[in-house]
Assembly symmetry: C2
Homo-oligomer: 588 residues x 2
């Protein structure tokens, strides 16, 4: 019998069939034979405790694996290979119920390399970032890239590209595009219905998207919606929500029938607020989502495992937490064949050394060890399947300092950011006037927030005030700017803001921190202007450096770039600045 | 405001669209307007407590109904019609997760008339009874008959017609037939995979049926399966089971990933045994099923409401019980749009006067009152849609007393029935010999059990011994004989057995009780030999009379005809008598 510490890629069992989630009569017969103890398993996990997501118990049982599937859980003893998991715990690998892969800043294969060692076995991704830049072709590229990874990637097809008519995206996803993509076997439903104002108003465009998604799951997005508006939104056939920031908000949504995806992202921290929602009565209606986690967070903190650790440290029972992170998500999304350690399920498993601390010793995908003690064991081709048309997507009209002027009549309101949240407040402010224009004033933390249209070189620039970034000098810019992914910048000096924008544009997209007309830090994101083509670790280090530089410039936010990327998102209350200027969300 | 006791059919709101479960943009916009308090609802249920199946709570809220849907649950006040439900409870109407409609002995419309007043809003039916007689045409006839009823009828398409090769059915449902029927919008998945020995053996026929049902729910049937055999069966992709009779059996199945359908039928009483399975940890994986309830039981005892009463009287929390009987079943079967009192769901509701006693005051379907205080308010056409080919299906070869002789070499074993169960025991017995043949002997309750092939007039007769019927004289016969629906008979005197069989055959099918060559009671079942074309109440009275007569003949069983109908079912352990003779189930 192989002990865990001797296990390596070389001892792995034969490769699984690619059609892991399809019925295969030969594999079925092999499973039948192994389950009935007529043949030895390929691999037996012996001596551990199995987390049973159906009974909510720990079960002392061995797990017999055949051709990538679990053939049986019980007193099995015969196998070609044995792995001793005594004193360890066998759980289904974790599922992220709602994530935008692109938020990791790295290509799909690197995302997998980041999350698989943390025990993630499946994600449901809403590819609306790349869709806003590159439309259906962008989603198709992610789909191709996700094929063959040791990670099941389910797609929800975004219905709101652009997120609303207040944003200028690079591409529009038409109803026909959505219908095409919904028919892919990897598609699990309609993506988050972000345009809740349009939904509540009964827009014809929303009607068409509801029509074509009849009988499919529809992901929700209802930040702050309560009362009659929430009833109207939930009644539109949306099944879930991951935008709750308050406990009573989440409770009301749960009562209205929405599956509550408790979110813990890099910048969106909702778990501690929402955890009291989870009781004996409600836990079947709750699961976890990361929504947006950058690669630095993924490497340093983790993925769903980190969310589990946080939940358990706040008192959630570990088995219940794992049920929510596995079966609940799989069941909601109808991801048949994953989310349980039970016969007929894919052998997509984690072996945990410690259940309280969710220490992922091994990650299995299709019966193979794909990560061990935090190290990814597979091989992925970094630049596979990146189509050329996803490069050189930034098209900027010539920009001068005059384009960054903020008129007084547009300077009476500001966006106020809330640390740890992506919702903002709309506040009234008194502009700082110089030469008849409103200026940034770091003394009262009132800075210019700029959004430049960058897909069609229209030269359109929206400018407004923001409070809460805390920069004392310099400027930050980002071509990650949910959801339209124009270039968004914040800064004290206009010249630094301009240079930040130009630096980002010069690399075909990216992030930049500028001070005194000098590039402090710069992370090129040449894929669609939102993703790096570099290895995970390098991008994570560079991103961490950028965040550190932003804090050096005076920002007190935990993740200034993380938050900057949400400053133009027209579908999260209460205020934003898009390329069309200051926007009160929910007012049109 | 209308009080409940003034409510009648005349005050009902406008008829609902037939496409209740499809997206309709106009209806959607009306719901949006009502939900947001911009327009009055069609109907408002005011002042009651809503059973929220998501939060597990009672919620004081009004329910606003528009065009057959729930537009919102909350503080709504404006409506064209108001119904005061103060001091009452509003719950989703109940769902039977697994039933054979045909077991009610009445046509589909009469079944609806029987169950709707008991608060049933949906059933998942496995039409394998009619399929065994009439194949795909039989199922299609039920489907047509179910259209337009105030009851949602979801179909599972039976994969085992005949149930096994040990039975001689009237029709075979081919893989192609199953594929055709699975594509119907009313189809929710594959029916119960009864041929578990074939499944465990990896039969090619089963493989084909698993193949075509990929991605669909598959209903299970695993009586007594435990250990490795259960792992093999569950691993074949079956999702549920309703056959558990013991607590540990059910617990093991739940752990193996099967949704546990706790069954309480007319003859199958499993609830009190299984109820301890339901805990805070397991309740999401349990629901209720009636499997087989005859019309007399439905009228006198009830349907799912009766199961709820029993469960609550044994200590199950009423709200939890109702969640299991509604949302859990709907969620398992992916019956989108029913099973909750929440926005966007069909207004398929019950108003309960008493939650502990599950007193159904009103049943709503699509927002209309369809039953009140036990009275069905709709109109159904009794004989609608009964195709002529479902009549005159009994074809019997000439039968004489010589055909009923039991040879000694086949008389060493007997079926032993277990009151309240459909599983049986196989026991060894010493035959009573006269003239070289084995005879019935009422003194030791060892009676002849006869099964006559009746579809193709083959003249094939299977004969064996049964213990437990307790008849002192006379004979009973039934052309309801799961699943092949040949004619099964039990009796003391061969002449009475013969007459019982001929009486049944003479009416194109039916039930008969005979004593001393005299017809004591006879219920014709001319539709496929298993269903009456008469009104519910008449059939129920006649059936009750037959059962009473059987008890007069000495039977101590609670439901002698109910149990007789299972005596030829080749897929329930341990022993049966089919038209091919005595059978040990599981041995081939």
């Amino acid at each position: 019998m192989v002990q865990i510490d001797q296990w390596n890629a070389a001892t792995a069992v034969a490769a699984s069939p690619t059609s892991l989630y399809q019925f295969d009569p030969n594999r079925w017969r092999r499973c039948l034979a192994v389950a009935q103890e007529l043949e030895p398993a390929d691999l037996l996990l012996s001596g551990g405790q199995v987390i049973n997501v159906f009974s909510g118990e720990l079960e002392r049982a061995n797990v017999a694996i055949v051709d990538g599937l679990i053939a049986g859980v019980g007193n099995y003893t015969q196998a070609a290979k044995h792995l001793d998991v005594t004193n360890r715990f066998v759980a289904p690998s974790f599922i992220d119920a709602h994530v935008h892969l692109e938020s990791a800043l790295v290509w799909v294969s690197e995302f997998a390399r980041a999350v698989v060692p943390h025990g993630t076995g499946a994600v449901v991704t809403d590819p609306h970032e790349i869709a806003n830049v590159a439309g259906l072709a962008g989603i198709a590229a992610l789909r191709v890239a996700a094929t063959g990874l040791p990670l099941r990637v389910g797609f929800t097809i975004p219905p709101c590209v652009p997120a609303s008519s207040a944003e200028s995206s690079g591409a529009i996803l038409t109803t026909h595009d959505i219908e095409t993509a919904l028919a892919w076997p990897e598609s699990v439903g309609l993506g988050e219905l972000m345009n809740y104002p349009g939904t509540l108003a009964g827009d014809a465009d929303i009607a068409a998207k509801l029509q074509i998604s009849t009988g499919r799951r529809r992901d929700g997005h209802a930040p702050g919606l309560r009362g009659p508006a929430l009833q109207a939104y939930a009644g539109s056939g949306v099944g879930s929500d991951h935008e709750s920031t308050g406990l009573e908000e989440a409770r009301e949504k749960l009562r209205a029938g929405l599956m509550i995806m408790i979110r813990e992202g890099s910048t969106e921290h909702n778990l501690t607020q929402l955890l009291p929602l989870v009781t004996d009565l409600t836990y079947p209606r709750c699961c976890f989502a990361s929504d947006d986690r950058d690669c630095h967070t993924l490497l340093q903190d983790g993925h769903i495992d980190a969310i589990l650790r946080l939940a358990i440290s706040h008192g959630l029972d570990p088995i219940r937490a794992i049920r929510m992170a596995t079966w609940n998500a799989a069941n909601y999304w109808r991801l048949d064949g994953i989310g349980a350690v039970a016969p007929g399920y894919a052998a997509n498993l984690v072996v945990l050394d410690d259940i309280q601390r969710v220490t992922v010793g091994l990650t299995f995908y299709a019966g193979q060890v794909v990560a061990k003690d935090g190290q990814f064991l597979g091989t992925v081709d970094l630049v596979q399947a990146i189509p050329a048309e996803l490069r050189d997507t930034v098209r900027l009209a010539p920009l001068g300092l005059n384009d960054l002027r903020l008129s007084l009549e547009r300077a009476g309101e500001a966006v106020e950011v809330i640390p740890g949240q992506i919702v903002t407040k709309a506040i009234r402010v008194t502009p700082i006037v110089r030469d008849g224009w409103a200026e940034s004033d770091s003394n009262q933390d009132l800075l210019k927030l700029v959004c430049v249209e960058r897909h069609r070189a229209t030269g359109r620039v929206g400018i407004g005030y923001v409070r809460g970034f805390g920069l004392r000098r310099g400027a930050l810019a980002s071509s990650i700017a949910h959801d339209a992914h124009n270039i968004v910048a914040v800064g004290v000096e206009d010249a630094d803001i301009l240079m930040a924008i130009e630096t980002v544009a010069g690399s075909g997209g990216g992030l930049a921190a500028i001070v005194d007309r000098r590039v402090l830090a710069h992370l090129p994101l040449p894929i669609a202007g939102i993703l790096s083509d570099q290895p995970l670790e390098r991008v994570a280090a560079s991103y961490a450096g950028l965040e550190a530089h932003a804090r050096e410039l005076g920002s007190t936010l935990p993740s200034p770039f993380g938050l900057l990327a949400f400053m133009a998102l027209s579908v999260i209350p209460e205020a934003r600045v898009t390329d069309r200027g200051f926007l009160r969300v929910g007012q049109s």
